[in-house]
Symmetry: C2
Subunit: 166 residues, 2 copies
């Protein structure tokens, strides 16, 4: 496999991996394309490379910017906008964690908050109360762990942290 073939395979596969991640295929492909590109690309170049429509390219580029995975890069004297991917993988990991926490964990915390304390009046209800209580316990632990992760630096995660729990 030549390096170019590897790049192509990466873009292609990243697209299908994305769909297991709740990220649509095009969004993941654009991300991959920008990741493997050494220079900023314009919306036009992205659309041509991936053979997608302008609209589709635009929407997914915006979404990537929202996620903080892609930045605009303005080139002086050019009206056109260019885009560049966040290549610091630690930053990428954190951005993804932030989004997924928002989408997946926070609704659970909200639900638990809405439901509030369950005052069990009999044996039956006690079981329900326990489910809620435990769920709360683990959700909060996961929440604070992720917050810590988001605020931590890469070395903490890759180095110290791993040694500590080995």
């Amino acid at each position: 496999m030549t390096t170019q073939e590897k790049k192509d395979k990466f873009v292609q596969s990243w697209g299908s991996i994305g769909s297991n991640w709740g990220i649509n295929r095009t969004m993941a492909q654009i991300h991959a394309l920008l990741l493997v590109s050494s220079k900023p690309l314009s919306a036009m170049e992205i659309k041509n490379e991936l053979q997608i429509s302008v609209g589709n390219a635009n929407m997914n580029i915006r979404a990537l910017i929202d996620w903080g995975l892609v930045h605009k890069e303005l080139i002086p004297g050019q009206r056109k906008e260019f885009f560049i991917a966040e290549k610091d993988m630690w930053e990428v990991v954190k951005r993804v964690v932030i989004q997924r926490k928002k989408k997946e964990l926070e609704p659970i915390l909200r639900l638990l908050n809405d439901v509030g304390e369950v005052d069990a009046k009999d044996k039956d209800e006690e079981e329900f109360a326990k489910v809620i209580k435990d769920l709360e316990l683990y959700s909060n632990k996961v929440d604070s762990t992720l917050d810590r992760l988001i605020n931590a630096d890469s070395n903490w995660f890759v180095g110290t942290f791993m040694k500590m729990i080995r």
Copy 2:
């Protein structure tokens, strides 16, 4: 809100939370229903409670059993099968982690394995090589951390672990 209302709200909301999790609405609702029920339920009771078809109920019950979140419970003298949810929340967390690792992380590891080493012949390709190398680093770290989580016990996660990284 009465306890019954809380149960209903929980079942309802767990369904929509599920869909943010790559778990379909019905599967999550059945899970929630069994979680809040103090006695085992039959497929028929589940189908009636959630107003879904037999086929749908059956398929999603099977999926929950595959995930290890629900068990059969046979009542002597009864032909019918009854189902009961895994109520140990730590076990639930682990089961979900196992499934998501399979679906989300493992494809990335496979891709990286397929792509292999990138031998960068110029400055441009070096950037690509670095993206792949870093991605490999973090994917492996996440992988081993999750493996450890899966094999750990609840106290490790809730207690010691949290103190260590505080």
